[in-house]
């Protein structure tokens, strides 16, 4: 398996029609910034034959048309892109608030999570709401933002058995990540609250409420306020 190193980036074929580019092997804002820069550069100067891009914490998966390109050819095309990353400007981070009603039926795992860490539910909420999280990428389903990094005192493993359906708007945590489920989907993250905001709307011009690179804060709200925001 060829795994050449180019300026700190590592290429690895993921399939016969996709190539992974890794910027290090750790989740860091710096590695993620390089992912976002490469994504921005490929958006402004697209490469013929690339069909899709899947950004993640510290990697970018490039899906390409294997009838037009080989892994080697694509790598040669991408190397000059990597050399230019320093100079790629990124849009200024937006600061976004997500009003969240914690606990109760909206956050059925809140008390368990708090108990696991020797916290009261109120302390757990305060901790979760204390951080301006970075949107590392959108993945899994449309508009699902992977947010980090969760305070260490709240970091909890996934549920042993994922729920068959998690309601849309549920705020979950898993490991050092937190996020909001945009759709009712199966899910294994521990649910601590819910937001009335619609995270993905196909009729909105930017569709996803959150964008890669945004800074996000969760703001605790009451059940009454949740109802008001849900039905304005």
């Amino acid at each position: 398996m060829p795994t050449p190193i180019s300026d700190g980036a590592r290429f690895l074929p993921a399939s016969d029609q996709s190539l992974l580019i890794y910027f290090g092997e750790k989740i860091t804002p710096e590695a993620n910034q390089r992912v976002r820069k490469l994504l921005a550069l490929l958006a402004s100067e697209p490469v013929a034959g690339i069909r899709n891009l899947h950004p993640a914490y510290c990697s970018l998966l490039v899906d390409f048309d294997a009838l037009k390109l080989s892994h080697g050819e694509l790598e040669l095309i991408l190397r000059p892109y990597l050399d230019r990353l320093e100079d790629v400007p990124l849009p200024k981070s937006r600061e976004i608030e997500i009003p969240t009603c914690y606990g109760g039926e909206f956050g059925p795992d809140l008390s368990d999570v708090a108990a696991l860490h020797g916290l009261t539910p109120a302390q757990a909420i305060e901790l979760h709401a204390s951080v301006a999280y970075l949107v590392y990428f959108l993945g899994f389903v449309p508009g699902f933002a992977y947010l980090g990094e969760l305070p260490e005192a709240l970091q909890t493993s996934r549920l042993a058995t994922p729920r068959r359906t998690v309601p849309a708007g549920s705020v979950g945590i898993a490991g050092n990540q937190t996020g909001v489920y945009p759709f009712a989907t199966p899910g294994g993250w521990r649910l601590i609250g819910r937001t009335p905001i619609t995270m993905f709307r196909p009729d909105r011009s930017d569709m996803s409420f959150l964008s890669i690179g945004d800074r996000v804060r969760f703001t605790p709200i009451s059940a009454a306020r949740f109802a008001e925001l849900e039905n304005p």
Binding site: M1, A14, S15, K26, N52, L53, H54
Partner: protein, 318 residues
């Protein structure tokens, strides 16, 4: 008279799980949007050719049990993929052949006699409002297709404009046979192949897996000998490609498919090659499959060869 306006297709019975699909949406991975599209792309493309459409026109994808469809103003149609035992107003019709359905005729399909999916292509294509450039349905999130969902009894879909030109075209039986079921899926090494001990990699190629009942367009869950991982492996969530064979802690592999999640955190032992993905779309629950590893170079030649075959398929005029 050239284009006939206002033609429609009425769903009298939807079948088990019937959705509008084309060749999928490309380029929205950064939003977390799955490609979707036909599970058997070759069948969709050939069906469209039979009725005179562009390869990527939208068609109906039926799963395991077909539906019943009325054409009030008639339509030129073709059935490709698996044989669901079709009849037009009660008279049996051939798959892989263009059929001229007269106004008021009803096309009925039953349970599959071979693989999982059958495609109904209509001249002009199924007309739905595209979402991000594609007519494909992503049922999990309710996006795309006809109201974002599988079809129901009573649904009426418009057929796109087309010159109503019927020519009886058919695809040679030997070609259709070449595209038929094959229960050995070829794969290339996955990005985390080194998370698995040599013995696991070997066993993976030797094991016969059974397609689980919980399989769908998002993923095929396999049952059989669990694949052991090296201890202490931790990986960071990353983008996942179509056909990725991921191994969760249970050791039972999952093939990520057309309605797949765009990123994932389980190690991937391999990836089904592009030239075999259409076969994945024809696998039914309880089908038995095996995996055979090939190099990237072989995978690419197989894809190029398949495209050449497709380009050279003679569509016979009767």
């Amino acid at each position: 008279m050239s284009a006939i306006r206002g033609r429609a297709i009425q769903v009298q019975a939807p079948g088990l799980h019937t959705t509008v699909q084309d060749l999928g949406r490309k380029g929205y991975g950064p939003l977390g949007v799955s490609p979707s599209g036909a599970a058997d792309r070759l069948a969709l493309r050939l069906g469209n050719r039979l009725v005179g459409n562009a390869d990527g026109a939208a068609a109906l994808e039926m799963t395991l049990i077909g539906g019943t469809f009325l054409f009030p103003e008639g339509a030129v149609v073709a059935l490709t993929g698996s044989d669901f035992g079709a009849s037009l107003d009660g008279a049996a019709i051939e798959p892989w052949t263009a059929i001229d359905a007269r106004p008021g005729q009803t096309l009925s399909l039953g349970p599959t006699r071979s693989g999982a999916r059958c495609y109904l292509s209509v001249q002009g294509g199924i007309a739905v409002t595209p979402f991000l450039g594609s007519a494909s349905t992503h049922a999990l999130t309710g996006l795309g297709g006809f109201e974002g969902r599988p079809l129901r009894k009573g649904d009426v879909m418009q057929i796109g404009p087309a010159a109503n030109s019927f020519r009886k075209k058919t695809i040679a039986a030997h070609v259709a046979r070449r595209l038929s079921l094959r229960n050995v899926l070829r794969f290339t090494a996955g990005p985390q192949a080194d998370c698995f001990p040599e013995a696991s990699l070997h066993a993976f190629g030797e094991t016969t897996y059974r397609v689980g009942e919980q399989s769908n367009r998002m993923g095929l869950r396999l049952e059989g000998e669990p694949v052991a991982q090296l201890p202490g492996q931790q990986m960071i969530t990353e983008g996942v490609s179509l056909g990725a064979i991921q191994v969760p802690p249970s050791g039972l592999p999952i093939i990520l498919f057309v309605d797949q999640q765009t990123t994932g955190g389980y190690p991937k032992i391999g990836n089904v090659i592009a030239a075999d993905l259409h076969r994945v779309g024809q696998l039914r629950p309880r089908d038995e499959i095996r995996f055979e590893q090939v190099t990237l170079k072989t995978a690419r030649s197989l894809l190029i060869e398949q495209e050449k075959t497709l380009a050279s398929i003679e569509i016979f005029l009767e």
